[in-house]
């Protein structure tokens, strides 16, 4: 109590010093400062509007118009919800939606579990921890196209080392063609390549979350007789929820928009069995040059991302 009194006494004095009530000069200065602040951020704001807001709005406009550039300079006439109707009734879009959602759920769950394990390991004190923490981030720093090419080469039946080791284990396992020769094997390699790239990123976010948990509560739990598993479920995981929420949102959005790894590894094959929404969107834009229909697919992806993010935020909100 004795320590709080001077603090309370100082607060009005500080406010008085920064903005004396009734001072017109200071008010004008504050307004000028605010305007200067707006001017200083204006270039960045304009740039952001140009590179994010403008394409988003233009894309939304396209999605309600006929904009197929492969037919040349035809007028971009208004078609209402025709592109959306085409999308919702398209078997290709529905199948891609199903695959994308399945990929998102499976990869987010598996990657998060792996990342929690990795973060807990990196949180422990051991020799060389700093080097390992830095090394773990390397896969995340490698461009996805490069990492996908690496994994594709490693799983090549003729020159990849994966098949070489499998062949050493059992002759009948040799010469397995992983990509584009089987649906489940193609997905397996995609999941592995995708996890290798993204797990470290989530792990680092979770590691930051672990580091702000006070150590004394673990000591208290230990004194109270809590075991490792109980401590993890009842202390670590609940206290990790804010970091977990951020990590899951990031990872979910990444998984929802998965493209590069599939483009490089399978091209959507075998058949269309690894074609996701982003890949379908790429084909609509780049191969068909249909910016109207492609715009509708993009808008739907943005809506899905917003809804999923909202659901995740609600799910992680602390219960009162």
């Amino acid at each position: 109590m004795a320590a709080e009194a001077p603090l309370r006494a100082r607060r009005p004095a500080l406010r008085w010093k920064s903005r004396p009530p009734g001072s017109a000069t200071t008010a004008r200065r504050t307004a000028a400062d605010r305007r200067l602040g707006y001017l200083l951020v204006a270039p960045v704001l304009i740039l952001l509007l140009l590179v994010t807001a403008y394409p988003l709005i233009y894309n939304l406009w396209n999605s309600f118009h006929f904009v197929n550039l492969s037919f040349g300079a035809l007028p971009h006439k208004f078609v209402g919800g025709q592109n959306y109707t085409k999308m919702f009734t398209s078997s290709a879009w529905l199948a891609a939606l199903e695959r994308t959602l399945a990929f998102t759920v499976v990869s987010v769950v598996l990657d998060t579990i792996a990342a929690i394990g990795l973060a807990l390991m990196l949180h422990r004190k051991f020799r060389g921890r700093g080097v390992l923490r830095a090394a773990v981030l390397i896969p995340w720093a490698v461009p996805t196209v490069v990492s996908a090419m690496l994994w594709k080469t490693m799983f090549d039946p003729r020159s990849g080392f994966v098949d070489y080791f499998l062949g050493a284990l059992h002759p009948s396992w040799a010469s397995i063609t992983w990509l584009n020769a089987s649906v489940w094997r193609s997905w397996t390699v995609i999941f592995i390549a995708d996890a290798w790239k993204n797990v470290p990123f989530i792990a680092i976010i979770l590691l930051a979350g672990l580091q702000v948990i006070p150590t004394d509560i673990y000591e208290a739990a230990r004194i109270d007789g809590a075991g490792t598993v109980e401590t993890f479920w009842r202390l670590t995981l609940p206290l990790l929820k804010p970091a977990l929420m951020v990590a899951v949102i990031f990872r979910t959005l990444q998984a929802l928009l998965v493209f590069d790894v599939i483009y490089i590894m399978t091209g959507g094959g075998p058949g269309n069995s690894t074609q996701t929404l982003s890949f379908l969107n790429y084909q609509t834009f780049i191969t068909s040059l249909d910016f109207g229909y492609g715009g509708a697919i993009s808008v739907m992806l943005v809506v899905m991302a917003l809804v999923i993010s909202y659901v995740i935020v609600r799910a992680f909100r602390p219960r009162t």
Partner: protein, 429 residues
């Protein structure tokens, strides 16, 4: 005063922004073509191509010759991506933006109809090209609605390679290809497969299928895909992997480069591929392969004709260029017999002119005799402005069959309506 300074600064910012937007609008508006420049005027034309390495160097040699013969015309080379999908996207972006450059460009045989429909390439009728001097199948690839939009530059007929040391007489039927491959695999254990072909999910899988197709009486017609001939050709490729086991499942990842590597390294008795396999230097081939390469159209079965798929590159002119006369002079120079022969000798790109196949060329590169034979059989892929969509559908069909996720009959029956619908797509559909 402070307020006044801020407001005057704001006005300056708004003024600068307005000026910037005005400049941008002016810049965007300058993409239309200007008045036509005559061929005799001093000018620079931009030529877009994908050639790197030997091909790029040979193009530069040809340009040097052209500039020497036409001192008033300079040619600036714009090297675009060597990846065909990226190359196409780069060209399309220029055209969509209404750019006047490139003035003249290299085009795959499947692009001209698409570019012509969009109004991006010049109708060559006013330049009076003599198309009778070229191989007719490639001329057809550059023709849209009866008008010529692209000129053949070099002509790549895909066919069947075989090892002459293992297969003494070339096979005369698809069944004999299988039996010869099986016999070769039994006789030579260094072989990893009897047949290598492009089975990856990309355009090359379609040309591999097309090479085999006519041997079974098939025809790659988007209006009528599900025919007994097409189904039999697809079933033959499927059986090669899953029934006769002369081709490995690894073909599902092979493009022409991997197929060439398998054949040149002595792993395959047969390979379906483009003529460049014969132009590979002996130093890059396994000793057993050197001097033992045969190259024939895919042998015909009952009711079929020998098969070959047309590949190759063409030359076309941007519809918005002001330098069409100079661009046309450049095309005439590149497609003249001496320049095509020089390119064939340096790079292995087969000439598009039948008259270029002379004893002098055969003396330097005997394999062009085989290429000339295949040119007589090569079939173009469907000439349609919607070919890229049709190609996407066909790739899905072939990929499903090669991965054994669908039977050939089911895959072709399932793909036929989609292929037809995409081929006939119009702005109103």
């Amino acid at each position: 005063m402070a307020t006044s300074r801020v407001w005057s600064g704001k006005r300056r910012t708004v003024a600068a922004l307005g000026a910037g937007i005005a400049l941008l609008a002016a810049a965007c508006g300058s993409s239309g073509s200007g008045p036509a420049v005559s061929a005799g005027a001093k000018q620079t034309i931009v030529f877009a191509e994908s050639g790197l390495g030997t091909e790029g160097a040979q193009t530069q040699t040809a340009i040097n010759g052209f500039e020497k013969a036409n001192p008033n015309i300079k040619v600036k080379v714009d090297v675009l991506s060597s990846d065909s999908t990226t190359y196409l996207a780069q060209l399309e972006h220029s055209f969509i933006a209404g750019s006047t450059t490139p003035d003249v460009f290299e085009s795959d045989v499947t692009y001209p109809a698409k570019f012509a429909q969009a109004g991006w390439v010049l109708n060559l009728a006013s330049l009076h090209p003599d198309m009778s001097q070229f191989f007719p199948t490639e001329v057809a690839a550059g023709t849209y609605q009866g008008q010529t939009y692209a000129v053949p530059w070099f002509d790549n007929p895909e066919g069947l390679f075989y090892r002459t040391d293992l297969i003494k007489t070339p096979p005369t039927s698809p069944a004999q290809v299988v039996s010869d491959a099986e016999a070769a695999m039994k006789a030579d254990h260094s072989l990893k497969e009897g047949l290598a072909f492009e089975g990856a999910k990309y355009e090359g899988a379609i040309t591999a299928f097309l090479t085999v197709d006519s041997a079974f009486g098939g025809k790659l017609d988007p209006q009528n895909l599900n025919t007994p001939g097409n189904a039999a050709a697809l079933a033959w490729l499927y059986d090669a992997v899953y029934k006769n086991h002369i081709a490995p499942t690894a073909v599902t990842g092979w493009q022409e480069g991997q197929v060439q590597a398998e054949f040149s390294s002595g792993h395959a008795a047969f390979a379906i591929n483009y003529p460049f396999v014969e132009a590979i230097p002996a130093s890059q081939e396994a000793p057993a392969v050197v001097g033992h390469i045969g190259y024939i159209p895919f042998p015909a079965g009952p009711g079929g004709t020998p098969g070959s798929a047309l590949g190759g590159e063409m030359l076309a002119i941007n519809a918005k260029t002001a330098h069409s006369a100079a661009a046309w002079k450049f095309i005439e120079y590149l497609t003249s017999a001496p320049v095509e022969v020089a390119r064939a000798e340096a790079t292995g790109d087969p000439p598009s002119l039948p008259s270029a196949y002379t004893p002098a060329l055969y003396a330097k590169a005997p394999y062009f005799q085989n290429v000339k034979v295949l040119n007589g059989y090569s079939q173009p892929r469907p000439v349609s402005p919607n070919y890229l969509q049709v190609s996407t559908d066909l790739q899905v069909m072939l990929s499903s069959v090669f991965a054994n996720t669908e039977s050939p009959a089911a895959a072709i029956a399932g793909a036929a309506p989609t292929v037809k619908s995409d081929a006939n797509a119009t702005p109103s559909s």
